[in-house]
């Protein structure tokens, strides 16, 4: 077989195939439910109600979506430049650490939130700077270095929680001193369990979208990602663009950790993120790397997680079905995107 580019893919092809990928994922979900001995339609229904069936469920889904929007944006920005940042997990924790460092009394009230947010972004950006410089200077593959940094970061957090940041009142649980009230993100509406982090995440998506479509930096990021050789030939500072991209990407991922600590948990613990950094890759790919699409897919992915939790309690299908579905969706989606651009021909 051979792949032949399609000159002008029809809208049916461009939209139909990604939809087909999602439908195929649903098919896999039903198959897994059958394997687990449950009624496939009931399982799908329970996932849907678990995610969106009540006001509480919706708020839980949106809360879960918040860090995913940030990590999804981080990945979308980086992948656009073909900078393979798989280290959003570590950058998330860098942001969380900053939230604790500045939010536990080191800083007075009016400034603490904006300053800690900025510090978080700087922390995340700094963490990605190393791998990107190793890539531009020495040609070291950033996938492996960012992956390895995730493990180092988790151990560092574990060290902080047992040492310098340990909560004296934590009764042996590995968690940090809680944030002072001024350092907490308030709720958007009183009484509803949804914090301003969600609104900030949407704002971030809009900002990223504006950067990508309206600014010279966005133009450069896309050019470097599509064809670094042509970008260099045209006079773009390719390495500088990659570094700027890394700073933006690392900063966005760090905001995920910052908003989880400042908005939701109020303290740092080593289970702060159940893999939000890795899930961000799925969120970004499902959104075809479009920043506004990331908001939609992050809510979708969060809904699958929240819904699967609820479904698992009711139907007895392991909650890991959510991880399987998302990995399946990712693989189906990359194949679908390819097939919108090429057709498979004989010979």
């Amino acid at each position: 077989m051979r792949l032949e580019p399609i000159a002008n893919p029809s809208p049916v092809r461009r939209l139909g195939l990604p939809v087909l990928a999602l439908v195929a994922t649903l098919g896999v979900a039903m198959l897994l439910a059958l394997v687990a001995g449950a009624n496939p339609f009931a399982v799908l229904g329970q996932i849907a109600t678990g995610a969106l069936g009540s006001r509480l469920a919706v708020l839980e889904t949106l809360n879960r979506a918040t860090p995913l929007i940030f990590t999804g944006l981080a990945v979308a920005v980086a992948f656009r430049a073909k900078l393979w940042n798989i280290g959003a997990e570590a950058q998330l924790y860098a942001g969380a650490i900053m939230a604790v460092v500045l939010g536990t009394g080191a800083l007075g009230s009016p400034w603490v939130l904006p300053v800690s947010a900025l510090a978080a972004m700087l922390g995340g950006a700094a963490l990605l700077l190393g791998p990107v410089l190793l890539k531009t200077r020495l040609g070291v593959d950033e996938v492996v270095t960012t992956l390895l940094l995730n493990f180092i970061m988790l151990l560092f957090v574990s060290y902080l929680l047992e040492g310098p940041m340990k909560d004296p009142g934590g009764m042996g649980w590995p968690k940090s001193t809680p944030l002072i009230p001024e350092a907490r993100l308030p709720r958007i509406v009183d009484g509803l369990r949804l914090h301003w982090g969600f609104a900030l995440a949407i704002l971030a998506a809009v900002v990223v979208w504006v950067i990508q479509t309206r600014t010279t930096l966005g133009f450069e990021i896309r050019a470097v990602g599509q064809n670094p050789e042509a970008a260099r030939f045209a006079g773009m500072p390719v390495n500088v663009v990659l570094v700027k991209t890394a700073l933006l990407s690392g900063g966005l991922a760090a905001l995920a950790g910052w908003s989880e600590v400042a908005g939701l948990k109020g303290h740092l613990s080593s289970d702060l993120s159940p893999g939000f950094g890795y899930t961000g890759i799925i969120v970004a790919m499902l959104a075809l790397l479009h920043p506004l699409g990331v908001v939609v897919t992050a809510i979708f992915v969060a809904g699958i997680f929240v819904g699967s939790d609820a479904m698992s309690r009711a139907a007895g299908v392991p909650t890991y079905i959510a991880d399987m579905l998302l990995a399946t969706a990712l693989l189906f989606m990359v194949l679908a995107i390819l097939l919108t651009k090429v057709r498979v021909v004989r010979g």
């Binding site: 000159a7 309206r214 600014t215 010279t216 050019a223 599509q226 042509a230 030939f233 004989r346 010979g347």
Partner: protein, 516 residues
């Protein structure tokens, strides 16, 4: 004409081969026969369908219609292995060699069953073939370190090692000096004397006349003529090949102006097999086309990088209008009026999935199409539309992705972008044209060359780099030759014969000049 040749056994028959790529018909009912011991030339312009036809024969593509017969047996389509087994060997235009492996490994790759344990007598056979066909090359050398001519010998040995009875050579002389081409022809004559048959793909008329017995001419995917080379001449072949459509522009001599760009003793480090520049001194004058001839891979790329702002010399100076430059980047070169037409329009000159607007502003988006970091897409689009209309870029509109354009239209957009003059909207004063017409059809070639001449007549200094001697001799006011990173003195147009140019290209004259 040797009596009996027409009665010699038919070794290869292509019958009614048709191949379409989307709307393009690359081969339209092409038929061809090849007999034992003869050389048939397949002649045609770029894009005439020569390479497609041979890729079908060799099983890289499957034809939509038609049949291939080798030694009377039908050849199953789409199967290179079957083609090899039937005795067809192909020497591709772009060599298919693994650089990190030895000559011997490259030759015996795939010749034994994958599950067998070892090779018997491979080295002896390679050494014997080298001797018999005059193809000297060391079996244990890494291919990555060989010269282009040596690599071609490895390619031919690969085919001979598999006992090929039919050799197909796709534009084999494109990368050779005239003298190396002579050596290749000697090898081919030995091969036909031993009963092999050869298909020789080319668009160079004098070579076809020199080596082929018969010539099949392709135009727009169709066979437009089949002639005995002993019974024809270059003019007749040329008319068949281009269909008498167009004659290429020839530049008339003109009085040169001031020196606009000067390289003084510029040297650069080599990169792998590619040599760096060795103390190159070059002057580009206003109102003059300076042609740079040479076999590809002799430092032209390094020189183009220096002129285009992509590299800094390790030693030596660059002077623009008598001012030495200190910072030298693509942006700086553009700002000083250097326009660049890159060698590789697909990988360097354009971004395939960007639309025409985005490609048009690639070099000037910072200075002319944005304010304080915000893109001015309205102005960018207007600029693209201007290029499209002024340079006759055939396309649905400025939002078309550039990958959908033909090579010629793509090149016109790049040309228009370059002529619009980078950061400032004044025309360029120095133009670097690196292989500007490679792979284009005749009409586009005439257009691009005409634009270069027009720019010269407006007073621009043009550096034309090409491997095609005819192009260099037809357009240049002065000619330099490069060999292994060294630059020959300048020769005024018409003062040197092709044969002498060949000796410079082979490096021979550099040695003579050094000794003298």
């Amino acid at each position: 004409m040797t009596p009996g040749r027409t009665e010699a056994e038919v070794v290869l028959r292509l019958d009614g081969i048709t191949k379409r790529f989307g709307a393009l018909t690359a081969n339209d009912a092409v038929s061809l026969t090849l007999r034992r011991g003869e050389v048939v030339a397949l002649l045609g312009e770029n894009g005439a369908g020569k390479t497609t036809l041979m890729n079908i024969l060799f099983g890289h593509y499957v034809a939509d219609a038609g049949e291939v017969e080798v030694f009377g047996q039908p050849l199953p389509p789409g199967n290179p292995r079957a083609a090899l087994a039937s005795g067809v060997g192909m020497v591709h235009q772009h060599f298919t060699l693994a650089g990190n492996l030895t000559v011997l490994d490259n030759i015996r790759l795939g010749t034994e069953g994958l599950w067998s344990r070892s090779y018997g007598g491979a080295r002896e056979k390679v050494e014997r073939l080298s001797r018999d066909f005059g193809l000297a090359v060391h079996p244990d050398a890494k291919v990555g370190r060989l010269s282009v001519g040596e690599r071609q010998r490895v390619e031919i040995l690969k085919a001979l090692y598999r006992d090929a009875r039919v050799l197909i050579l796709d534009e084999p002389t494109a990368v050779l000096t005239p003298q190396e081409s002579e050596a290749l022809f000697a090898t081919l004559r030995k091969a036909t004397a031993l009963g092999l048959s050869v298909i020789f793909i080319s668009h160079k008329l004098h070579e076809v006349m020199a080596i082929a017995d018969r010539c099949v001419v392709l135009r727009h995917g169709r066979v437009v003529g089949e002639v005995d080379t002993h019974a024809t001449d270059k003019g007749a072949l040329a008319a068949l090949m281009v269909g008498g459509e167009l004659s290429l522009p020839r530049a008339e001599a003109r009085e040169p102006g001031a020196v606009l760009l000067r390289l003084e003793g510029v040297s650069t480090p080599g990169r792998g097999a590619a040599p760096g520049l060795q103390a190159v001194t070059l002057e580009l004058r206003a109102g003059q086309i300076t042609g740079l001839a040479g076999v590809s891979g002799n430092g032209q790329a390094a020189l183009a990088e220096i002129v285009g702002g992509l590299a800094l010399p390790a030693s030596g100076r660059i002077l623009v209008k008598d001012t030495p430059v200190t910072r030298w980047t693509p942006g700086e070169a553009l700002a000083r009026g250097v326009a660049r037409i890159p060698e590789d329009r697909h990988h360097q000159g354009s971004i395939a999935d960007f639309d025409l607007t985005e490609n048009a502003v690639l070099e000037a988006y910072r200075t002319r199409f944005s304010q304080r970091g915000w893109m001015n897409w309205r102005a960018a689009r207007g600029f693209a539309e201007e290029i499209i209309s002024r340079y006759d870029v055939r396309c649905p509109g400025p939002s078309t992705r550039i990958r959908l354009l033909s090579g010629g239209n793509m090149q016109k957009l790049i040309l228009g972008r370059a002529m619009a003059g980078g950061p400032k909207a004044v025309g360029p004063t120095i133009i670097l044209a690196n292989q500007p017409v490679r792979g284009l059809d005749v009409g586009a070639i005439a257009y691009v060359q005409g634009q270069l001449i027009a720019a010269r007549d407006r007073g621009a200094a043009v550096l034309l780099i090409s491997e095609d001697l005819d192009e260099i001799m037809g357009l240049s006011d002065v000619i330099h030759v490069m060999s292994e990173g060294r630059l020959s003195p300048a020769f005024a147009r018409g003062t040197m014969a092709a044969r002498d140019l060949g000796l410079w290209m082979a490096g021979q004259k550099f040695e003579d000049a050094h000794a003298a």
